[in-house]
Symmetry: C2
Subunit: 154 residues, 2 copies
Amino acid sequence: MAEPRWLDDREFRAWLGYRRMRLLLDAQIARDMQRDSGLSDADYDVLSALSSRESRRWRLQELADRMTWSKSRLSRHIGRMEERGLVTREGCDTDARGSVIVLSEGGWRAIQEAAPLHVASVRTHLIDLLTPEQIESLGDIAETVLGRLSASRD
Amino acid sequence: MAEPRWLDDREFRAWLGYRRMRLLLDAQIARDMQRDSGLSDADYDVLSALSSRESRRWRLQELADRMTWSKSRLSRHIGRMEERGLVTREGCDTDARGSVIVLSEGGWRAIQEAAPLHVASVRTHLIDLLTPEQIESLGDIAETVLGRLSASRD
DNA sequence: CACAAGTTGTTTACGTGTAAACCAAGAATG
DNA sequence: CATTCTTGGTTTACACGTAAACAACTTGTG
């Protein structure tokens, strides 16, 4: 096996920093949201996806695709959210197999209340710590990396 | 509840990009490592922590602290790695309660073989896509965020 | 129309993370 | 040195993600 190009100091610092940031930052923001609003990260993602559409309803598969979740994951998660009164399931008119996930009144209230607290948390732990240049740069980095990832689906 | 400062377009792009990058990039790199070396992300982290010390041995608690893992998580993970011959457990001389995790010969070989492939994967999906300025910037961002996180342990 | 093939959503089996209970052994205190 | 407190590690109960199997339904084809 040929000797690879190892990471130099700066590269290593960036990689390790990214890894550690991902570990701790996400945990902190999730903890904040659990404490402030009683929602998990996943709950929030589902609620905000649902509320992004005027009708507040999505076919399960569509929603799963949009979120890059497996159908099975979403199905089970919806089940749990249903028990907590955040969403409801309805049958689909045009396809008897289908099920439609609907944001309930309680779910709507939950995300309305959670959103400002969540934004505050994201600001506190990330956005407000960075310069405008760094924010721009982070956006660029993500765009580049994601562009390549979706291009080379091997 | 007062209206919060919502994220503007650039801030939102950075936050969303970060979230999505974390979701997809990490999954891709983990997939590569599983395929190339049969190791999970967690396996790799344990192996590289163990091999970072000349003696290739750590007390469980120390190792858990260093990795920011819970004792229970590490204990169970070590159990699985032990079955696969990557590490062994030994009693501790100075404290009869203690257990010492030792990198086995097989574990040493595994990480030796995995490391260059892992670096290549990190380069392909992240480092080699970025300019030197972006690499520097990513390191800075992580340092800032992590600094604040560990400062304000509330 | 009948039947094969594909799609939709749920369920099952399994791996693994967390929190809390637990046990054993060291440390501290009277 | 006996009793209590603390610490190191494991185990248990539970939550949740994934892949694969499954059942119900739709679609495409002769």
